[in-house]
């Protein structure tokens, strides 16, 4: 926005004030995220900048909190760091376990939410879909209903949602459920809960992509003899793939960041990164949390870049040219 040539001096002053205000708001948005990065290299167990850090004294900085991530909950920090040490880290270190749990839960929740969500979005974007508005409202509601309510409901229900031992259901699902065969305190329970929370994001992004999708392409494919499966994989899928991927990434991030449902329905075996952080912030606040935070910020930068690239590609494909 350039200032018009006829602007009065007062308007000029206001214009530059406005730019400064916007700059400050951008600072408010971004500074709290970036501030954790230098803080995580603190050599002292403080949550603030030490005088040594401010004078850029190398002694003020260290990687000790990153080291803590590998050694916490792992009995042999002293031994030489050979392959046995690393395999012990992989098997035992608390944060590494949490990262593995978060990753697997997030992956399965994403697969579940994206598959079901994409298929449903295909139905929802058809003009013939009955009760479209009501069903949309229902499928988006996990994003709107407070997470604490969902978590309370799930904690009541999942404790009762059990399979009888030695039944057919138990043979199929038993491995994913808790020892008692219930959804509560099980990986499956957390995955299912996170999938529900991710569904609104998949529905929103995929239906948005489909709204720019030319439905006559489907009829064209069918008239040329493609069966529904071929039509989906050869015609629909390549065009809506960017939407599906960004929906999937949203679903993954939702799961990867989710703590309330985990607090209410998970057992000690389902320790995830957010849960570990939540407990860490509540109890003894150590800069190790800042090290984790830094890693998470880097991950979110990568994810954001991916989504932005996908969005631009999708806009190009749909012929939406940026101004």
């Amino acid at each position: 926005m350039a200032l018009p040539t006829y602007a009065s001096p007062l308007e000029r002053v206001w214009y530059y004030t406005y730019l400064v205000i916007c700059g400050l708001i951008f600072l408010f948005l971004i500074a709290p995220i970036l501030i954790v990065i230098p803080l995580s290299f603190n050599a002292e167990p403080y949550f603030t900048f030490t005088p040594k850090m401010l004078t850029f004294d190398p002694e003020g900085y260290s990687l000790r909190w990153y080291d803590t991530l590998l050694t916490l909950g792992h009995p042999a920090p002293e031994t030489p760091r050979d392959s046995t040490w690393w395999s012990a880290v992989w098997e035992r270190a608390t944060w590494v376990q949490a990262a593995k749990n978060s990753f697997w839960v997030g992956l399965w929740a994403t697969i579940l939410a994206t598959t079901l969500g994409t298929i449903a979005a295909l139905g929802l974007s058809r003009p013939e879909m009955p009760y479209r508005r009501l069903i949309m409202a229902l499928l988006i509601s996990p994003m709107i209903v407070p997470i604490i309510i969902i978590a309370v409901g799930m904690s009541f229900f999942f404790a009762k949602a059990c399979v009888a031992p030695d039944s057919a259901m138990s043979l199929i699902f038993g491995g994913f459920l808790s020892e008692k065969g219930c959804l509560a305190n099980s990986h499956m329970g957390v995955i299912v809960a996170h999938a529900v929370l991710g569904i609104p994001f998949v529905i929103i992004t995929v239906t948005a992509t489909l709204s720019g999708f030319d439905q006559s392409l489907i009829r064209a494919a069918q008239s040329l003899g493609a069966n529904p499966r071929t039509t989906f994989f050869k015609v629909i899928m390549p065009l809506i793939l960017p939407g599906i991927i960004s929906g999937a990434l949203f679903a993954f991030v939702t799961s990867f960041d989710e703590v309330v449902a985990v607090l209410f329905i998970a057992g000690p075996d389902q320790q995830t990164i957010p849960r570990q952080m939540f407990n860490g912030i509540r109890e003894a606040i150590s800069p190790a949390i800042l090290a984790v935070a830094t890693i998470l910020v880097i991950i979110s930068v990568l994810l954001l870049t991916t989504v932005e690239l996908l969005r631009r590609r999708s806009e190009r494909l749909r012929g939406v040219t940026p101004r």
């Binding site: 948005l29 209903v145 239906t207």
Partner: protein, 417 residues
């Protein structure tokens, strides 16, 4: 000339065209619905049923009705008894139940159930159950001699109210109604903690929504009027917080705002504050408001931006050329066109703020807690039915707001980035 008879159009196989079309349409509807069905079933099982189950818990508690069988039976035959002076057989039934509770070890459950409406009942029931075996008739005098509390009308009203498996009592408690000797009444103004917290949650959410609007408006406007290349670059500042873990953002606010934190250090370093005058900005309402504003700001910027981007700049130019000052142009021409964005962003931020849990739990301290934290508190105390009742009230409020959102803006217009 013969009169034209209406020609019945038919398909190739001889069916009337109208029928064939209707059949084809209903087939298409069925196909579309079948695609949505798997997800609907999944959401039903893992979302709707759990919430329904929670609502059931909010009106159900059999802690007393399942163990005090004789007393419950007596209440059924004498629904209109005088609570100020219950007869001997009522006391006899109660003593019989207390003795059985002691042997079945479920006194605690029954006491807890009565405790919701009559505080102090847990210890009363435990003491009564321990002594019940040795009590001799007449039971009324014996029990009153043990503890005169057993004769209080409010206790008998509480037990009568608890004698069914289903009850609306938890909603009454959550609405700060108190059981008195005369029945349910409005509680003391000083003790109206639940409604007060509801009010506070809505007030804080309103404040946060307003601050978000104030901060989002200039930024969204700037993003909307800048050329695409520059605005996409600046958009990263909005989207990065959106993609960053909530816990990371909460952690950094702790680092920034705590007493030995960066903001205080900076202010002391600049000489604006003395070492003893450090501001308390964390573990109170200020911390909750600042951190939640930061978390929810992108949800305000994005809807505002998408509305502002399509406002033609020529309108403002036209207003200026017709002699309007820049302030009048903004107030009379630009602002009214942004109203859909303001409504969408404000409602979304308000809805999300009302149900917030993590940020108040971590940075709110004792003063900055919201209604979600109270639900969690009662869950941890195993007051499941009360937690469910408060959650039920919160859910009603949220669904109402959600309905307003759908009517005003439409759910399918919700966008992410």
């Amino acid at each position: 000339m013969a009169e034209a008879t209406p020609v019945l159009l038919t398909t190739a196989d001889g069916r009337p065209l109208k029928e064939a079309l209707a059949a084809a349409q209903s087939r298409a509807r069925r196909r579309a619905f079948l695609l949505v069905l798997p997800l609907l079933l999944f959401v039903l099982l893992t979302f709707l049923i759990p919430i329904g189950y929670m609502l059931k818990r909010s009106v159900e508690h059999d802690g007393f009705s399942a163990s005090a069988l004789a007393t419950v039976a007596w209440f059924e035959t004498n629904p209109n008894f005088d609570p100020a002076n219950p007869p001997e057989e009522a006391f006899a039934a109660l003593v019989e139940d207390l003795a059985r509770m002691q042997s079945e070890k479920n006194t605690g459950m029954a006491g807890t159930r009565i405790n919701y409406s009559v505080p102090g009942s847990i210890s009363l029931f435990k003491a009564g159950a321990r002594a019940a075996k040795d009590l001799k008739p007449p039971y009324k005098e014996a029990l009153l001699a043990l503890d005169p509390e057993w004769g209080k009308p409010v206790l008998w009203l509480g037990m009568q109210s608890a004698s069914g498996k289903y009850t609306t009592e938890f909603y009454k408690v959550a609405a700060d109604r108190k059981l008195t000797d005369e029945g349910w009444a409005r509680g003391d103004d000083k003790q109206r903690i639940y409604l007060y917290l509801f009010f506070k949650t809505f007030l804080v959410s309103g404040i946060i929504t307003f601050i978000c609007l104030l901060l989002a408006f200039p930024v969204a406007h700037l993003l909307a009027v800048l050329p695409m290349a520059k605005s996409s670059l600046l958009m990263i500042f909005v989207l990065l917080p959106f993609w960053t873990s909530l816990l990371v953002r909460t952690t950094s606010w702790i680092a920034l705002l705590q007493e030995q934190g960066i903001v205080n250090d900076l202010l002391v370093g600049l000489g604006l504050l003395t070492e003893d005058g450090r501001l308390t900005m964390m573990y109170n309402m200020v911390g909750t408001i600042v951190a939640m504003t930061h978390v929810l700001l992108p949800f305000m910027i994005l809807p505002l931006y998408s509305v502002m981007r399509v406002i033609p700049p020529s309108y403002a130019r036209a207003a200026r050329s017709l002699g309007a000052t820049s302030w009048t142009t903004f107030r009379r021409v630009y602002l009214p066109q942004t109203l859909p964005g303001i409504a969408a962003g404000s409602l979304l931020v308000f809805i999300l703020a009302v149900g917030y849990y993590i940020t108040p739990a971590l940075v709110g301290g004792a003063d900055g807690q919201l209604i979600s934290n109270l639900i969690s508190f009662h869950m941890n105390k195993s007051n499941w039915s009360l937690a469910a009742a408060i959650a039920g009230m919160l859910l009603t409020a949220i669904l109402l707001l959600y309905w307003v959102y759908d009517q005003l803006i439409g759910i399918d217009r919700l966008k992410l980035g």
